[in-house]
């Protein structure tokens, strides 16, 4: 009984780490630009797909990972420069359609380059499970949880301790005021897309050995990342991480104890219930609207 629950917790944390990274990507871009980037899941897909293709072409794994992250960051930059910036001050619905158009486009590109099949990346450090109190944990899960934790710490350092990070926060807070104190908000906007894309690519690469990858793998992870970001409160970094972990755990527990067929429905039921009672998520700012 205990070992079973522990098993669900492990799998929940593993997936939760990926949802948290995806949610952080959403929050970063949302903060800098007010855009919900529906192509966030495609960053994750592109990361895993490029790593699989590079290793298949004989590139050693660490180099393949580095290249995959670089390629996807470039895609993030291009997305911002070619699609988001030209749209200017378009309304919410239009921006959603633009990023969805980008998402379909990127899936199309991946489909042409990668084919329609599913492939997996080799685990980083073997696939002999580690037994803890009767529950088994794959080494790759440790890589996923560990990578998630390291990235969260790096981001915390970046936003709390560096000038550039503070410039991003200032832009998120009030773009006009940020510009007045000399922050180049256009660079901040581009930076937020590059960072989100890199986050997505890393999440994609570390999860590829467990979840398999194909051109259409990004949609669900992306939507769940959006759920996690909303759950925590859009734009809140802590909220994104907590939201991602809660989502992963709830999903694993519901799949184990209630119904595995409805596993993918859990995040959406959860978010609707939360929003009914807390319309701005768990950690969302309680703002008063000025008229």
């Amino acid at each position: 009984m205990l070992s079973q629950t522990l098993q669900y917790l492990f799998s929940g944390l593993t997936n939760g780490a990926i949802y948290a990274l995806s949610a952080l990507g959403f929050s970063l871009i949302y903060n800098a630009s007010g855009v919900i980037n529906f192509a966030q899941g495609e960053f994750i897909m592109l990361g895993s797909v490029s790593a699989v293709m590079l290793t298949a072409a004989g590139v050693p794994l660490p180099l393949a990972i580095l290249l995959a992250v670089l390629v996807v960051s470039l895609v993030g930059l291009l997305l911002e420069k070619l699609a988001i910036e030209p749209a200017g001050d378009a309304d919410v619905v239009s921006l959603i359609i633009i990023t969805i158009g980008a998402s379909i486009f990127l899936q199309g590109v991946a489909q042409v380059l990668f084919g329609k099949g599913q492939r997996a990346l080799a685990p980083f450090t073997g696939d002999a499970p580690i037994m803890i109190a009767g529950a088994s944990l794959l080494p790759q899960s440790l890589w996923m949880i560990g990578t998630g934790a390291v990235i969260v710490l790096l981001l915390a350092w970046f936003f709390g301790r560096t000038r550039l990070g503070k410039a991003v926060l200032a832009t998120a807070h009030n773009r006009l005021a940020a510009r007045l104190v000399g922050i180049n908000t256009r660079h901040v906007l581009a930076l937020s897309f590059v960072l989100s894309a890199a986050l997505g690519a890393i999440a994609g690469v570390v999860s590829a050995p467990i979840t398999l990858t194909s051109y259409d793998v990004g949609i669900m992870v992306g939507l769940k990342g959006f759920v996690a970001a909303t759950l925590g409160g859009l734009g809140s970094g802590v909220g994104a991480v907590v939201g991602g972990l809660i989502l992963g755990l709830m999903e694993a527990l519901a799949a184990g104890y209630i119904s595995s067929a409805y596993k993918d429905a859990v995040p959406f039921v959860l978010i609707i219930l939360i929003l009914f009672f807390m319309p701005r998520g768990l950690f969302g700012a309680r703002i008063t609207e000025r008229v």
Binding site: V93, I100, G101, S103, G281
Partner: protein
């Protein structure tokens, strides 16, 4: 008089179009355009006029389709009764969820409606004892008073009539006090409240109307195609519907019809780009919204006014 011009023009187009339709394949595309246009005219009331986004309307569409399929096949209901019951049930569901959901704004509203649509999709895909699951389910042809609708040509006229009816209804709503209230909500919800408009009540009403439109077309589509799968209610289909509103031109009823026509024909034209359909479709979507942010019809209308 002006408000009947558009309707009359569309009626003429619908009446004359068969002269230009060489075979059943073209009739089929025209019918799908008409059906999609009917949903989009309803959805445009919600998105274009009231300014409330919904990323889950394919869910209501799917519920209508499955209500028709299950009630006629399993319980032997007449198709019209099944369709009306589906519309009533969807209306009730939409009414119950509308109030808490429409309190949300912007991206939170997008999230909640997206979630609602996905939950409906998953129920349709998983309750296979009722719905046949991912394998889909056959639907018998539509029949009324002993007459059975089977061929494309009959369906064409029925769809055309339904579309004109839907537009008349939508135009009446837009020009009524309800329509003015909705536009006030779009402009500024708080200003509307200050002016004494019960904004929540109007938002709920238009949400229910648009959901019922989607359900009715879901039933029609199910009988017309004769075979349905949960894919009808997928997230991607919800997106397609919203895209038709945006590409056609928000807050423009005939723009919605144009958007439906363009986006229904696009995949048919793109079969030429075998293997590259998604790339081209994604590109067209992005470029249209970036360069014609107000949508096709309002942009064309503005051009004509400038030159003419």
């Amino acid at each position: 008089m002006k408000r009947f011009q558009g309707l009359a023009l569309l009626a003429v187009i619908i009446a004359l179009l068969p002269l230009a339709l060489p075979n059943n394949y073209y009739y089929d595309v025209a019918i799908r355009i008409g059906m999609n246009a009917t949903i989009v005219v309803g959805l445009n009331l919600l998105i274009g006029y009231a300014g409330q986004i919904s990323l889950g309307h394919a869910g209501f569409f799917g519920l209508g389709a499955y209500a028709s399929a299950i009630l006629t096949a399993r319980y032997g209901w007449p198709p019209l009764a099944a369709m009306l019951s589906g519309m009533a049930a969807v209306g009730v569901i939409a009414f119950v969820v509308a109030r808490p959901i429409l309190r949300l704004r912007g991206h939170y509203l997008a999230m909640a409606t997206l979630g609602l649509g996905i939950i409906i999709y998953m129920v349709l895909a998983n309750e296979s004892a009722w719905t046949g699951g991912n394998d889909g389910i056959n639907v018998q042809p539509f029949s009324l008073l002993g007459l059975t609708l089977t061929n494309e040509r009959t369906w064409y006229w029925v769809t055309g009539a339904v579309l004109l009816g839907a537009i008349t209804l939508a135009n009446n709503i837009v020009d009524s006090p309800v329509g003015r209230a909705l536009r006030a909500v779009h402009g500024s919800e708080i200003a509307a409240q200050v002016a004494g408009i019960d904004t929540a009540r109007y938002k709920v009403r238009v949400f229910v109307v648009s959901a019922v439109f989607a359900s009715a077309v879901g039933s029609m589509m199910a009988h017309y195609i004769g075979f349905i799968t949960p894919q009808m209610s997928s997230f991607f289909h919800s997106i397609e519907l919203v895209t038709m509103v945006v590409v056609g031109g928000m807050a423009s009823t005939y723009g919605a019809v144009l958007g439906a026509a363009v986006l229904t024909m696009l995949p048919q034209l793109l079969t030429e780009f075998e293997g590259y359909e998604m790339i081209v479709f994604g590109l067209i979507l992005m470029l249209t919204v970036i360069f014609l942010p107000r949508g096709l019809l309002p942009t064309i209308a503005a051009r004509l006014r400038k030159t003419g």
